[in-house]
């Protein structure tokens, strides 16, 4: 029975976390359909490592292991990281990244709720800075794959680094849509010709656009469940869209359409699952708008003008740094008082 005051109770943390993980399932399912069983192998590896690291760190810090392990936060970090890396990447990549994310970014900073940076994004950044070659080797979507790549072959590729025929990763490798645009433009191939290849669909990458739609669906579910509010994702997506429109309007022969930037790379995953992380995003409404807005601009700029395959991870990390300042300087007036604390 509830006692007064009868205000809405906040959702318990574990239910919130499992709802977010549940919202990832559509995207994860589409990714598995598009890229094969490798996606699930990476997720399973990441979850196992995340739980082991979490248990080890909790034990070292003399916290009760079982309740903290069951809150689902480590599992969520693992899923986000595993979905960001190439599905057929060598097994040690996701193991190392998850260990860094949970051990270094979360527990060294004080554990659940204390980390200033998004653990999955730092894990991703550490991997892409350390192993750029492995991190940019995406396999082609199954529909476009040149070699026959069944489940056994995929698992073999992840754990041994080569196919049973002896062929290496190059037999199945293919640049991501964003990479294809970048390298194509460097070779002075007209943008229209690049976008005309079967790699691209109506919205974004031929396979990646459906994964992005899966994340969009999960994000809408989270919004409907009131796990997230509209402000962060809408402002982030709007900011990416506006920045992309500006560049597209200035030079449509060189910059891809704003729609492609919404549905390519990590934009959708970032908008609904990364930017909305309650620990590493501001709490005030104005702070959230500034945070998500600048993160969107930076994500686009790093993606288009930088050397890395995508910009979402770096832009979120950069904006994570200023979150405490945003929270401090954008505090709304207390109810019933004017700004500045006067009655």
């Amino acid at each position: 029975m509830m006692t007064s005051p009868f205000v809405a109770q906040p959702m318990p943390l574990n239910r919130l976390m499992y709802r977010v993980i549940g919202a990832l399932l559509p995207g994860m399912a589409v990714a598995t359909w598009a890229f094969g069983i490798g996606v699930l192998v990476q997720v399973a590896l990441a979850v196992a490592v995340a739980l082991a690291t979490e248990a080890w760190c909790l034990n070292l810090r003399r916290y009760p292991v079982r309740p903290y392990l069951a809150d689902g936060s480590a599992v969520l970090t693992a899923c986000l990281l595993a979905l960001s890396i190439p599905p057929l990447a060598p097994w040690w990549l996701v193991v190392l990244g998850t260990f860094i994310a949970v051990g270094f970014v979360k527990h060294l900073f004080g554990g659940l709720g204390q980390n200033p940076f998004n653990p999955a994004m730092i894990g991703f950044a550490a991997l892409i800075v350390s192993f750029p070659a492995q991190m940019s080797r995406w396999a082609a979507p199954l529909a476009l794959a040149p070699a026959d790549l069944d489940a056994v072959a995929q698992i073999g590729l992840i754990f041994t680094g080569h196919l049973s025929s002896g062929a290496g990763f190059d037999a199945v490798a293919s640049a991501t849509p964003l990479d294809a645009i970048r390298t194509g433009l460097l070779q002075r191939i007209p943008l229209a010709d690049i976008l005309g290849t079967p790699k691209f669909g109506a919205l974004g990458g031929a396979a990646q656009q459906w994964i992005a739609l899966g994340y969009l669906l999960g994000g809408l579910f989270l919004w409907q469940q009131r796990v997230i509010q509209w402000r962060l994702p809408v402002v982030f997506l709007g900011s990416v869209f506006l920045t992309a429109t500006l560049f597209y309007w200035a030079n449509p022969a060189h910059y891809a359409s704003p729609l492609l930037h919404l549905f390519a790379g990590g934009t959708m995953l970032g908008a609904f699952f990364i930017v909305t992380d309650p620990v590493t995003s501001p709490t005030t409404p104005l702070g959230q708008i500034i945070f998500a807005g600048l993160a969107g601009v930076l994500a686009y700029l790093i993606r288009v003008l930088g050397n890395f395959p995508d910009g979402v991870a770096f832009s979120v990390i950069i904006m994570n740094i200023v979150v405490p300042f945003l929270d401090q300087y954008t505090q709304p007036a207390v109810f019933g008082r004017k700004k500045g604390g006067r009655a």
Binding site: F104, L108, A126, V129, S130
Partner: protein, 229 residues
């Protein structure tokens, strides 16, 4: 003159208790920037220790004649002069190493540990004490540079003592130790890049604090036992 008791205390302070790297957290710029290999780290550490030995003695011997208001510029001039000598010597006799360490040799002038010891110790103590203090503080810094350099080199490139030929001549090029066999092409860039320096240094500071806490545990068990609820 200097007593045995005094020299033991100065040595312990410099190398362990007041270690400039992991306790005073001074001179971070070279500590973080020059520790991608053991050889780089130790070379810069030894150069700093030499400057500190001589600057400690020079400052202590002049301490009666330097007006209090002008002491900082005078100390800086002394240190800068010594660093210039070292800079020219290294350029003449260890040219390859000199090119690797680059700007960080002249920057020993602005390394705050050098000035800190001149101000905190040499300006108040005898010549021998100050020389020993400078040398031991320098050695303390060198130990930190060596450990951090070793950790980053092993983790980042799987080798130890890469570039020893820069210091000891071409025959030392073969003394490189491959912890990971070279045919694996092992590389973990994070450890070599600046983030690796910060992370590794954080672990060194925490490790020193942990060792100290463990050493003082028997008499202070009541105090630390309840520190965590």
């Amino acid at each position: 003159m200097i007593t045995a008791e005094e020299s033991r205390k100065i040595t312990l302070n410099g190398v362990w208790k007041q270690n400039p790297g992991v306790v005073q957290i001074l001179g971070m710029c070279p500590t973080l920037a020059m520790t991608s290999t053991v050889v780089n780290g130790v070379s810069l550490g030894v150069a700093t220790a030499l400057v500190m030995l001589v600057s400690g003695m020079a400052v202590a011997s002049l301490r009666q004649y330097v007006p209090n208001e002008l002491r900082n510029p005078v100390y800086i001039l002394i240190i800068a002069a010594l660093v210039t000598v070292l800079d020219l010597l290294m350029n003449a006799y260890l040219r390859d190493l000199y090119l690797v360490l680059g700007i960080f040799i002249p920057l020993i002038t602005t390394n705050c540990i050098v000035l800190a010891r001149a101000e905190a110790f040499a300006s108040k103590n005898g010549v021998l004490q100050s020389g020993l203090d400078g040398l031991m503080m320098g050695i303390g810094a060198t130990v930190v540079l060596a450990v951090l350099g070793a950790a980053r080199e092993v983790l980042g490139k799987g080798t130890l003592f890469a570039g020893l030929d820069l210091v000891l001549g071409p025959q030392a090029a073969h003394w490189i130790l491959h912890i990971v066999p070279p045919e694996y092409n092992y590389q973990f860039l994070l450890a070599i890049l600046p983030p690796g320096a910060f992370i590794g240094f954080g672990f060194l500071v925490a490790g020193k604090a942990w060792l100290d806490k463990r050493a003082s545990a028997p008499e202070a068990s009541c105090a630390t036992g309840h520190a965590k609820g």
